[in-house]
Each structure stands twice: as structure tokens, then as C-alpha cells.
């Protein structure tokens, strides 16, 4: 009976080690804190109506940022734990982590950074910006989009669940290669948590990607042909098409792995006719394009930022688009370079080596195109441009090491070494994360109506860049010294230790950079009058997202703009703004279906992790029932009349004029870090001295 009700759960599953204990406390503490704050502020209703059931891609974008930002801090803490262990676990000392625990940490680090940080930030940006850039009021399927987000959130919770119950995550490396991840070598629930957190969020990604492909294809403003689409939208388009193509592969592979583990099948086992090499093959067929799914939107961001901040149209729009299409096409046919060392013949290896090198052609074309765009421009070095200039250097180093790794005989010496790890961190930090930061600092005025604090932003950039050099230049060197990745212990005679310590210092510097970014956002809100963007066009930008208010109203545009050129908004600014005509607007209604389905999906995952059959069955039925109910919903939209739109617009105009006045009266400077600390101290003093806390 107990086994029927609770499956494999027993007393041992409860937290009993220091890290599960700490993790659980943080997990529960954070939850309790949020519950108390929301209850105190009486915001439950607001939370439900405005956020949880929302179908507005802008709000969903913000929620993606919040989840990813939180996960970035968590993944960052894991980085520090990894490097702390590697700095001290030498000779007789085995550090403060056991080998198994250490392996769980780097596995979680990889999953969190790729799936829940990079992927989340990219989806957040696409959600917020793409509909605005193509002049659309909403998405092809707003419901699919909420479902995608909530599945992503369910996956993010699943990846943290093991603290509370089970006490172990996969100790297999981020892709959980077979047969190590099979039941034979990983009998615990760790790999099951891995499977289900990726499975749930991966299905969310597929749904989100389908929706965005449809949105970009069908919802563009009149006159905007594919050849006039802004470059970020192009990058997002290429990326989402790739996601639609390869994410089902991940889903299928994870199901096969699940069958192996749960039903005792033999797809990837060492015995019984299973083929672990097939797992490596399948997972990389998805895994390699995945990296480019993250990269392509960032290429788009950089293209727009370079053009805007050089005050010049992009040098060759066609080459830029072709470059992105080229990267996304070739990226589908290079996956084998992840396992040259598995023993394929020279012909196969050389073929995939050539395919990999070919990607360098469109990528270089993109870089040259950006150079030509800056040439004879008027370049403004605000933070988005700084992130671009930092990206180029890091990305070039990463690109060159990538081409080295694409040469099979060289790969035999570099594969699985820290050189490889340094390479993909150059790409994912230098390329994706810098791209995301570039995008966020570029569009922050769009999100909030406030410009980000420049001064602290610039400090943050330099801390990230310096921290990156400190961490990853030694890592390249370590790889050449023969240091393999994922080592929880090594001998001091190798001489690696000082370099590991330099890396740890670099990690701390990056952590300061990340902290500064959080400070930057808080400081921006403190100085909101001074930083108010009164023009709606703070960067003298070129594309349509700037042709509406900041932040945009929930219907995005009062009048859908007509587009006649690539830089639609730039044209508008120079040829006159069309007059506003108020009209009735169809608005999708909020729906809780996505949230409910994701809750059930989470329970399905949880049930399979712990082998609680009844819960799995009930939850699957729950999903189907919600889907059916949603299907019977005949009125997914309502109409906002022209009159209501006009009232809303007039109210907003009035409010904006008041705010503009406040902004014009405020002639302070962007605050620095020291000002910020002073403000925090005086705030704390105020609370203590005036006993303000009693009010709460």
C-alpha cells in the first residue's frame, strides 16, 4: 500500500546531507518569503490575473527574464563551488565535496546554464521584441506561448526539486551520456530528475518555437516582406526553425532513455543489444544545433545594435540574412564533431570536420559585415556597444579554438580536456550571454520606459570581461597541460593548481560583475525620474519596436504601421509619422489552461521519477481534460473598442507628460556604486532609527 501511494519515496529521500539541507532551506525559505510578501501586499489576485494567466508575450518575456536571472545566480554559485573544489582538492586533500556530489554540481551547472538561463533569456527577448518588431498585436497562438513558458518554469522547478526529495541529481555530465546514465551505472533518482526537467522544458521549447515560426510567418505588418524583416527577427526566425527541427529529437531520445530506465528496455544499455553510441549520436544531433539556437538570435541583436549605434544601416542586409541562414543550415550537419574520438573512420571524421569549418564562413561574413557597418559611421559607445566589442574578441578566440577542435587529429588531443570547456564557454558566455546582456541593455528602455544606469553598467561590463579572461585564459592553458574536464581531484605535481586558483579568482570577479548588474537595475529604479526615457527613442533606433510607447500598451500598437523598407521606423522618422486612427482591437483573453497543464506535467514528471503510477495516470488524464476544456472555449478573444483605445491612449499621454515634467526637473547624474551603497545605508538607517519596520 505504501509503495502504491508513495512509490520509491521513503525516509532516506528526505534531506539529510548539508547541501540538500541548505538547498531545501533556500527553496522553502524563498517560497515562504514570496508567499508572505504577496499576502501582506494583498497581491494574489493581481498575480493571478496579471501574470499567471496572462497571454501577453511582453509579460511572459519578463517572466522568462525573472526565472533565468534567478537561475543564473544559482548556476553561478555552482561555478564557484566547482572551482573552489578544484582549487583545494589536491594530493591528500579531497576537497569539501565528494566525487559524486561534485559531479552532480557540474551536471546541474550545465543544465541550468543552457536550458534555464541561456534558453530562457533568449525566449524572453524573442517574446518581448519579435511581435513589436514585426508590428503585430499578438501571437499566432497566445495559448501555446503561455503553455511553453509554464512548462519551462515547471522544468526549472524540477531541476531544483532534488534538494527537497531524493537528495541527488544526475552525476553524468550535462548530456547524461549512456551507458553512464543507464540504470546499471546510475541507479538513483538523479538521472530521472534530469530526464524530466529536460523533457518538460524541452516540450515547452518546441511549442514556443512552433508558435514563433507561425507568428513570424503570418503576423507581420502590411508591407513587411521577409526581405524587410529586422535582423533580430531574422535571427529569431532561423533559431526557432532549428528548434522545431531538433527539439523533437531530444524529446524522443529522452523517452527512449526513460524506457530504458523505467521499463527495462535496451536502447542504450551495454547489454541486451543496446547501443550506447546511438545515444551519443542522437543527443548531439539535437545538442549541437541547440548551441546555434542560442547563438542566432544573438547575431541578430548584435546586427541591430551595431547598425543603431553606428547610425548607419547595416552594410549588407542580404549577406547578413544569408549568413544567419547559412549558419543555421550547416549547424544541422556537424554534430559528429562531438565524438570524433569514438572511433569513426577517417572519411566520416574528415567530412564532419569540413562541415564544421564551413560554418566559419557565414560567421566570418557576419563579422566583416559588422566591421563595414561601423566604417564611416558615428559610433556611440553606450553599454550595448561595449557588450558587442567585448563579444567580438571573446568570440574570435572561441571561434578559432572551435576550428582547431574541428580538425579530427587535433581534436584527439583536445577533446574532453579543459581546452574544450574553455572553447564552449567562450562561445556561450562571450557569444550568448554577452548577446543577451547587449539585448537587455539595448531594450531595457522598451521594457520599462527607463534607461539603464550607464555608469554601473559599464563597471559591470568590465568586471565580466576581466573575470572572463581570468577564468578562461588559464583554462585554455590547463587543457594544453593535459587537464581533463570534470576532475574532482588531481596531483599537485601536475602544476595545475595555481591556474585553478586564478580561475576561482576570475569566478569571483564575474560574480561581482553579476552583482553589479543587479545593483544597476535597482539603482535605475531608484533614479527613475532622472532615467526616464522621455522620447520613446533613446538610441535613435531603426526598427518598429521603437514606434510605440515604452513600455508598450498591451495591444502593442494603436495603429498597425505600414512598412516599406528595412529600417521601417527610421523611414517613419524621416518621412513623417502617419496619423493615428483609432480602431477596434481584438485582444486574446487570459487563460489559466497553460498553467494548469504545466502543473499536471510537473506531476507527471514527479510521478515517473518516484514511480508513483496512480499519480502519473491521474496527471496525464488531467492534462487531457484541460486540453479538451480549452478546446471548447469558443471565445478566446474580446474586442477593445476604438473609443476605449482612445481613452487609454489619452490617459497614457497625460501621465507621460507629467512624468516628462518630473524628468526635466531632475538634472542629477547616473549614480555610481558608492552613491548606491550610501543610499542603501541611509535606507537601512531609516528603517531602524525611525522604526519603520514596525509598520510591517
Amino acid at each position: 500500500m505504501k509503495e502504491f501511494l508513495l512509490g520509491k519515496i521513503n525516509m532516506d529521500s528526505l534531506p539529510h546531507e548539508w547541501f540538500t539541507f541548505g538547498g531545501s532551506l533556500a527553496f522553502i525559505g524563498l517560497g515562504l518569503f514570496l508567499v508572505i510578501v504577496i499576502t501582506r501586499l494583498k497581491r494574489w489576485n493581481w498575480l493571478w490575473k496579471e501574470w499567471i494567466t496572462t497571454v501577453d508575450p511582453k509579460k511572459i518575456g519578463i517572466m522568462y527574464f525573472l526565472v533565468s536571472g534567478f537561475m543564473l545566480v544559482r548556476g553561478g554559485l555552482e561555478t564557484l563551488m566547482i572551482w573552489l573544489q578544484q582549487s583545494f582538492s589536491v594530493d591528500k586533500s579531497h576537497g569539501f565535496l565528494t566525487a559524486d556530489h561534485f559531479q552532480q554540481i557540474f551536471t546541474a551547472h550545465g543544465n541550468i546554464m543552457v536550458f534555464f538561463v541561456a534558453m530562457g533569456f533568449i525566449f524572453g527577448l524573442i517574446n518581448y521584441i519579435v511581435p513589436l518588431q514585426i508590428g503585430a498585436r499578438d501571437l499566432a497562438s497566445p495559448f501555446l506561448n503561455t503553455l511553453g513558458f509554464w512548462l519551462f518554469a515547471a522544468g526549472a522547478i524540477m531541476v531544483s526539486m532534488f534538494f527537497l526529495l531524493g537528495g541527488q541529481y544526475a552525476a553524468t555530465g550535462w548530456l547524461a551520456v549512456a551507458p553512464l546514465s543507464g540504470k546499471e551505472f546510475s541507479p538513483g533518482v538523479g538521472v530521472d530528475y534530469w530526464i524530466w526537467s529536460l523533457q518538460i522544458s524541452g516540450i515547452g521549447t518546441t511549442l514556443g518555437a512552433i508558435n514563433f515560426v507561425m507568428t513570424i510567418l503570418k503576423m507581420r505588418a502590411p508591407g513587411m516582406s521577409l526581405g524587410k524583416m529586422p535582423l533580430f527577427t531574422w535571427g529569431a526566425f532561423c533559431s526557432m526553425i532549428m528548434a522545431v527541427a531538433v527539439f523533437p529529437l531530444l524529446t524522443a531520445t529522452l523517452f527512449l532513455m526513460f524506457f530504458d530506465r523505467y521499463l527495462g528496455a535496451h536502447f542504450f544499455t551495454t547489454v541486451g543489444g543496446g547501443d550506447p553510441m546511438m545515444y551519443t549520436n542522437l543527443i548531439w544531433m539535437w545538442g549541437h544545433p541547440e548551441v546555434y539556437i542560442l547563438m542566432l538570435p544573438c547575431f541578430g541583436i548584435f546586427s541591430e545594435v551595431v547598425s543603431t549605434f553606428s547610425r548607419k544601416p547595416i552594410a549588407s542586409y542580404k549577406s547578413n540574412v544569408l549568413g544567419m541562414i547559412g549558419v543555421s543550415t550547416f549547424a544541422l550537419s556537424v554534430w559528429l564533431h562531438h565524438f570524433f574520438t569514438m572511433g569513426a573512420g577517417a572519411d566520416v571524421n574528415a567530412f564532419f570536420g569540413v562541415m564544421t569549418m564551413i560554418i566559419a564562413i557565414p560567421t566570418s561574413a557576419l563579422v566583416f559585415n559588422w566591421i563595414a557597418t561601423m566604417y564611416k559611421g558615428r559610433i556611440n559607445f553606450s553599454t550595448p556597444m561595449l557588450w558587442f566589442l567585448g563579444f567580438i574578441a571573446v568570440f574570435s578566440i572561441g571561434g578559432m579554438s572551435g576550428v582547431l577542435l574541428a580538425i579530427p587529429p587535433a581534436d584527439f588531443q583536445l577533446h574532453n580536456s579543459l581546452f574544450l570547456v574553455a572553447h564552449f564557454h567562450s562561445m556561450v558566455i562571450g557569444g550568448v550571454l554577452f548577446g543577451v546582456f547587449c539585448g537587455i541593455s539595448y531594450w531595457f528602455p522598451k521594457f520599462t520606459g527607463l534607461r539603464l544606469n550607464e555608469r554601473i553598467g559599464r563597471y559591470a561590463f568590465w568586471f565580466w570581461t576581466i573575470g572572463f579572461c581570468l577564468s578562461f585564459i588559464p583554462m585554455y592553458i590547463l587543457g594544453l597541460m593535459g587537464a581533463t574536464r570534470r576532475l574532482d581531484h588531481y596531483d599537485s605535481s601536475t602544476g595545475w593548481r595555481p591556474l585553478f586558483i586564478v580561475m576561482l579568482v576570475g569566478g569571483i570577479v564575474i560574480a561581482v560583475g553579476l552583482a553589479l548588474q543587479i545593483v544597476q537595475i535597482i539603482a535605475t529604479f531608484i533614479q527613475k525620474n532622472h532615467l526616464r526615457d522621455t522620447t520613446g527613442d533613446p538610441w535613435n533606433a531603426r526598427s518598429l519596436e521603437w514606434a510605440t510607447a515604452s513600455p508598450p500598451p498591451f495591444y502593442n500598437f494603436t495603429t498597425i504601421p505600414e512598412v516599406s523598407s528595412i529600417d521601417a521606423f527610421w523611414e517613419m522618422k524621416h518621412n513623417g509619422i502617419p496619423e493615428t486612427k483609432y480602431q477596434d482591437i481584438h485582444i486574446p483573453k487570459n487563460t489559466a489552461a497553460g498553467f494548469y497543464i504545466s502543473c499536471f506535467a510537473f506531476l507527471v514528471g514527479f510521478a515517473f521519477v518516484w514511480e508513483i503510477v496512480w499519480l502519473a495516470v491521474v496527471s496525464i488524464i488531467g492534462i487531457i481534460v484541460v486540453f479538451i476544456f480549452r478546446g471548447f472555449n469558443d471565445e478566446p478573444e474580446y474586442i477593445l473598442t476604438a473609443r476605449e483605445v482612445q481613452d487609454l491612449e489619452e490617459a497614457r499621454t497625460k501621465k507621460h507628460l507629467e512624468r516628462t515634467k518630473l524628468a526635466n526637473d531632475d538634472d542629477t547624474e547616473d549614480m555610481g556604486v558608492i552613491d548606491f551603497i550610501k543610499i542603501v545605508i541611509s535606507f537601512a538607517k531609516d528603517i531602524v532609527v525611525n522604526k519603520r519596520w514596525r509598520k510591517w
Binding site: 553512464l180 584527439f412 580536456s417 550607464e454 602544476g495 533613446p538 494603436t558
Partner: protein, 313 residues
């Protein structure tokens, strides 16, 4: 549209004209360059006298691989260094505060520009691919190294978490230790038993290859300098992965012969029971040498998996 709410737009964006402290924006750049120099010097000091195994090849394959890497890197740098220099120079020259620089936003780029955008990297990739294709065949791990010496075969079994080596011709078995004669081609036959994929790697002698259950991968290496080199598993295969190391000793031919005869006489005889004992997972194992009378351990290991295809489980 926006202009309901935003009464004025100065066409430049307010932000760009409002800031005072822009004049010293570039002050971080020289500091950063100094930092890079300091970091370079620091790293140089930290690694002085330390073993840079990939850059310090002691075998034919490793030297060929290093040469290939250096040549390819050189070719890439010919493109990358000027490109980056030009990029940062242009960024600096056309900075907003530089009134003297020309500004031509309407500048049109011709066909030639678009074509060269693609042709330049294409040329470099063609050169690299041209270099890579033949060398991939030449350095195929299963290709035998040509030499006057008769090659020695060593059968390798990856186990949790140690390396078992069988010298079939010499009737010797070792754990976490191999000795090979200098300038003699060595043919490693890699497999694994009850162990996840492992990667057999001796950085000084040459690149790695996977050891997997049910497969035999061939890796040919040859040591050209006498010395002890570290071998390891480069691929994670469980909790004891970091301790799965072995010593590869390249010795003179006479030393090798002495070692072989010495070990053959050893009373430490390797039997099937020793093998089953080794299958029990253990970490940080010491090096061991055995003589052996068993001649089919390796084929038993490989059969164990290939045969299971027929019977199923």
C-alpha cells in the same frame, strides 16, 4: 503611435546628448590592456617548468598532431589578427566624439564588397580543409605506424576505475602501468568491461580514443623519448573517474626486455579470479604487474557483449 505620447523627439535621442562624463569613457581600455599583459606574465610564471603535455610531444603521433594544430592556428591568425585590429581601429576612429572622421550614413557597398565578404573566409576555410583532409587520413588512429621495429600489441580493458593491460605476446598483465620500448610502434586495442564509455589518453604520446563495451577500437602510438608519461581517462565514467590514471613508461629496448622477462618470472600470476576481483569498482588503484598463463581473457571480455546480442537478456 508613439508621438501621441512623446511630444518631441530630437532625432538623436536625449540620452546621447545628456551625459557629461563621456569624455573619459575610454579610460578603461588602457587599464584592460595592462591587465592582459599582467595576466600573461602571471600565467607564464605559474606554468614555468611545468609539464605542458600537449605542447611537449614525446611520440610521433603527438608531434604530428601538434604540428597540425600550430599550422592551422597560424593560418587562422593570418585572418583573425588583421580583422580584429581593423575592427577595433574602425570602432575607435569613427567614434562619435571624433569630429574629423567622415560620416556617410548613405554609403552604398558594391557587389565586390558582398562577394569578398564571403570569398575571403571561403579561401581560408578551403586552405584549412585542404590541410585537414589528408592529415585526418594520415593520423587515423587505426593506421599502423611504419617502422623497422615489429609492432607490439597491448590489449586495454577500461574497468571501474582502473586500466587493465594485457600483453598477449609477452604473456604479461598489468594494472595502471605500461612499459613500452622506444621507437617501436604500439598497437592498443581498446575495450571496456562493465564500465561506461571511457577515453584512453596519453597526452605526451598522442590523442585519445574511446574504450567501450562490446567494441574494439585501435589506437596506434609510438614513443620517441625515454620517460614516464601520465595516461588517463578523459571521459567521465563515474565516481572514481578522477583517479583512473596510469603511467606509461617509454624505455630503451633492453630495459623493456629486462622488464618483460622479470615480470614473466614473477610468481604473481594473473587468473580469471583476479580478473573478476578487478571488476568490482575501486578507486585510485595502485600499479600492478602479473605474469599470466591465461590466453583468452581479452576475447572473453569482448565476447561477453557481442554474444549477448544473440541471447538477449
Amino acid at each position: 503611435m508613439m508621438y501621441n505620447a512623446y511630444s518631441i523627439s530630437n532625432g538623436k535621442g536625449t540620452f546621447m546628448t545628456k551625459r557629461k562624463s563621456r569624455s573619459n569613457q575610454g579610460r578603461f581600455v588602457p587599464i584592460f590592456l595592462l591587465f592582459l599583459v599582467a595576466l600573461g606574465l602571471l600565467i607564464r610564471n605559474l606554468i614555468r617548468g611545468k609539464e605542458m603535455s600537449v605542447l611537449n610531444p614525446m611520440g610521433t603521433i603527438a608531434s604530428e598532431q601538434l604540428r597540425l594544430m600550430s599550422v592551422s592556428l597560424g593560418i587562422m591568425l593570418i585572418l583573425a589578427v588583421p580583422a580584429l585590429t581593423i575592427l577595433y581601429f574602425i570602432a575607435w576612429k569613427y567614434r562619435e566624439t571624433n569630429e574629423k572622421a567622415t560620416y556617410s550614413p548613405g554609403q552604398k557597398h558594391g557587389k565586390l564588397f558582398s562577394v569578398s565578404l564571403w570569398l575571403v573566409p571561403l579561401t581560408f576555410v578551403a586552405i584549412l580543409a585542404n590541410l585537414m583532409w589528408p592529415s585526418t587520413h594520415k593520423l587515423d588512429p587505426r593506421k599502423q605506424i611504419s617502422s623497422n621495429q615489429k609492432p607490439i600489441t597491448i590489449q586495454v580493458v577500461a574497468m571501474r576505475w582502473k586500466w587493465l593491460f594485457i600483453y598477449p605476446e609477452q604473456h604479461i598483465v598489468t594494472v595502471n602501468y605500461i612499459q613500452v620500448p622506444i621507437d617501436t610502434p604500439i598497437k592498443f586495442e581498446l575495450t571496456a568491461d562493465e564500465t561506461p564509455m571511457s577515453s584512453f589518453w596519453i597526452p605526451n604520446l598522442g590523442g585519445q580514443l574511446y574504450a567501450m563495451t562490446g567494441h574494439v577500437n585501435q589506437l596506434n602510438l609510438m614513443g620517441t623519448t625515454i620517460g614516464d608519461y601520465i595516461g588517463k581517462s578523459a571521459e567521465i565514467n563515474g565516481a572514481g573517474f578522477a583517479g583512473m590514471k596510469f603511467t606509461a613508461r617509454v624505455s630503451s629496448q633492453t630495459d623493456f626486455n629486462n622488464w618483460v622477462t622479470g615480470t614473466q618470472k614473477s610468481s604473481n600470476n594473473f587468473t580469471i579470479k583476479d580478473y573478476t576481483d578487478l571488476l568490482v569498482p575501486s578507486e585510485y588503484n595502485k600499479a600492478m604487474t602479473y605474469s599470466t598463463d591465461e590466453s583468452d581473457i581479452y576475447s572473453k571480455v569482448t565476447d561477453k557483449y557481442t554474444k549477448s546480442h544473440e541471447h538477449g537478456e
